[in-house]
Amino acid sequence: MISNALQTTLTAEEMQYARNLLGREPTHLEWAMIDAEWSEHCSYKSSKPIISQLPSTGSRVVLGPGYDSGVIDIGNDYVLTLHIESHNHPSAIDPYGGAATGIGGVVRDILCMGTTPIGFLDSLRFGDIKSSDHSKWLLKNVIRGIADYGNCIGVPTIAGEIEFDECFERNCLVDVVCIGVGRKDELLLAEATNAGDSIYLIGGTTGRDGIHGATFASRTLAADADRERSAVQIPDPFTKKLIIEATLEANRRGLLRGCKDLGGGGLSTGLSEIADKGHTGIDVFLDLIPVREPDMTSTEVMISESQERMLLVAKKGCESALRTIMDQYGVSYARIGEVTSTETIKIKRADETLAALPTQFLANAPIINRKANPPTSPRSFGSIPPPDTRKTILELLASPTIASKEWVYSQYDHEVGIRTIGKPGAADAAILALPNGKFAAVKVDGNSKVCHLDPYIGAASVLAECCRNVTAVGAEPAAFLDHCQFGDPNDPDIFGAFSLTVKGLADFAKTINVPCVGGKVSFYNEDAITNRAIKSTPVITVLGLIEKTEHITTMSFKQQGESIIAVGSTKAEFSGSEYFNLLHLDGGHPPQLHFDLEVRTQRTILELIRKGAVKACHDCSNGGLAVALSEMAIKGEIGAEIDLRHLSSSSRDDELLFSESNSRFILTTETPRAVLQHLTDNHIPGVELGKVTGHELNLVLPNHTIRLDLEVLQDAYCTSLGRILEPWQK
């Protein structure tokens, strides 16, 4: 919604506020800078008051929200950094470029902390790829974009998830997470604290791509969004790779005071943020900025979001050493400004000052308190038809959301860096070896179907499940990132759902005592073609730490004769489940989440793993027990004899198989009695279901018995996605 001749998205009130504070009419360039910096995308002006309730402190937290990345102390003088970015709007119109520059953007957030990027995760959402060629096209090109960029810069993409739902048909969600590692004493901040330091712009030239990218992301997609391709940046991973090497080397040599990623809002935003954090000002010499086209206006130069650029704050006297490093790697650079004590951002061309805005004014948009409606109670889902359980199991395994994502992750180099201990698909979370002998477990997850029914329980459940995933591999959850994705925040129903989502996350995070170290909010995920907003989609990333090699646990059945134990209670909870999705049933209340029981269950599982009592462990979620057991059998290439009549008093086969009740794990052990006793001692339900054996999954149910050959399970689970996306391949 372009609101005036200046092409800003600022409201009349915001413009008046700016005039009052400044005491004059801003220049054209100043308006453009204010517009970019005060966009929802850069300023969080709607979400700040809400997200501030997330707990963000803890003994391991070095830096929490408000920096380019969250920073976690992992001991032995090492830190991990983590950050999430989305590139939803750009990917909706240019999936390859949008996704690639999303990866390119998040890696800069890790790099500018002075840490080495060591892993990506991707969390993707599309429409129904079975029926929509558009969604198929989006998915293929998003994945190729991530693969080409990540592979080229040598950072492995180690885990991810994909959800399919009609609401993402025109608004795909493309979220990427990056993890970095570094030495604590080499951490860099995005702060220009010392007057006299030099500002270097390194990497690519500034062009007309990505103009108004931040404001583009801060409104809904227009029907003719294709015309906004100029708001999408152009990826160049090779230049990024050189920037990574050169920046890390300059930092190791102690030449840098600070570093800033140039993302949304371009130079204007980057400069005002480093000056604001450092309580300084910056004089920018516009003529010294290398531009791609000679006739670019000052406004275009200042707000361009051209990729592969970084701002380096070079310590006074270190300029020539910095230039030597840039020359070695062939990275272009220009000294474009100087840190001053004026607390003003001045943009100069020749002798003329084109803009002079107080740093604090520019970097701090006025907060908007938006109206939030309470949620409406969900409608009933109607009645469940009598199940054909065998067929349903195979259909669930082959459904795109559940099916093996090997077609996707085999396109990602997930091995480079030789840190990937837990490969994609092998365990509930990816596992990376760390330089101090420990291991990081990371998982990204979302579930729009459950969040749509109840944003509070939905969000808390996503965070709980993500922690459960990390626990299942033997890690203790250490920190999380949230990424809240919604429609237009001007809609009080949507803003109400957003507020409840954050409250759900905050309440569960406080109970489990895991801090939020960063995140993102992405509004305006709706479009003028379908006139629909996406379902509430908080995407959560949890990072956990594994202390010892022996604690690493994967989901595959390991050996014939192991006992299989189901942990937690299975109830008739189907709303938001994959089972209901298959039956096209929508509505009802999502599975309950008892915060204390969830936390107690996770801690008990971790104790059992640390005692060495657990051979395989898998969280029981999408698709219920049927899918969880099938996955454990498929990955281990061993079958099992299972009697589900022990699980509960229910006589419904579908409840036992497909319920998505929270707080459940399946584990295997050689010491079932000791494990069950430990569960009982902690007041956690646990039942021995059977044994790992043979070459088929044999499920005894109240009403009948299902026998499924491993080959049949494998065929449904492993080949489904490839068959949908490349039906011509064998």
């Binding site: 991973p237 230049t239 085999s410 091995e415 030789i418 490969k423 391949q729």
Partner: protein
């Protein structure tokens, strides 16, 4: 044993390779920037994987013209062991030090997965610690790894023992005759698409790759 690991702009597996050679196998491996690689007194050289020069033009095409290749050529002439891994293999082919061509995978996708390989010729500095026809597991990760040579050249490669490894019971990239590794006539220059440095510990999924480097340590021409 002093080994040069040549680093091009865009190399990705350079540090992984140096780590395995020095910290796992205890060799004296040096990371050398391509423009500074003039010293041919090293005992062996490795061209690591990655995307040298962003794979612009063609994978390996620009690196093949780097000054570093002059030194590599000299060492090759001195019959010293030279190994090209993945992008390194592509560079050696582009430089004319190895026969054939590497085309885009037949599935038209990048493929990253663990594969089983069969050793065809153990008489090279990178396979002498392995038995003929033995199976080893190593991961691949590339877009252009479909080896191609015309029928006449293939015959001659077979006859002269220059086919060093093949996929065993799989062919994820559609490569000719399952070929994943070839050598030059003298068999001191070897290129391979799989990554031995990634198969360097049981935790990573296997350590068969170490035998490739151990061969280099045991090799007597």
């Amino acid at each position: 044993m002093r080994i040069a690991v040549v680093q091009f702009p865009g190399s990705n597996c350079d540090r992984d390779t140096v780590h395995v050679l020095s910290n796992v196998l205890g060799l004296d491996a040096r990371l050398i920037w391509h423009r500074d690689f003039e010293d041919d007194s090293f005992d062996a050289a490795v061209l690591p994987g990655g995307f040298s020069f962003g794979d612009h033009l063609r994978a390996g095409a620009i690196a093949a013209h780097s000054v570093a290749m002059r030194t590599i050529r000299k060492m090759a002439d001195q019959r010293k062991p030279i190994l090209g891994i993945c992008n390194g293999f592509q560079i050696l082919i582009e430089a004319g030090l190895l026969p054939g061509a590497l085309l885009r995978n037949s599935c038209l996708r990048f493929v990253c997965k663990w594969t089983t390989l069969q050793v065809e010729n153990p008489d090279t500095p990178f396979t002498c610690a392995l038995e003929k026809n033995s199976k080893v597991r190593m991961p691949i990760a590339h877009n252009e790894g479909r080896f191609f040579a015309d029928a006449k050249s293939l015959n001659s490669l077979r006859d002269s023992g220059q086919i060093i490894m093949r996929y065993s019971n799989e062919n994820p990239t559609g490569t000719t005759e399952e070929i994943v590794s070839v050598s030059n006539w003298n068999r001191n220059v070897v290129g391979m698409m799989p990554h031995p440095e990634r198969a360097s510990s049981p935790l990573l999924g296997g350590d068969d790759g170490l035998k490739v480097f151990k061969s280099m340590m045991e090799w007597t021409p």
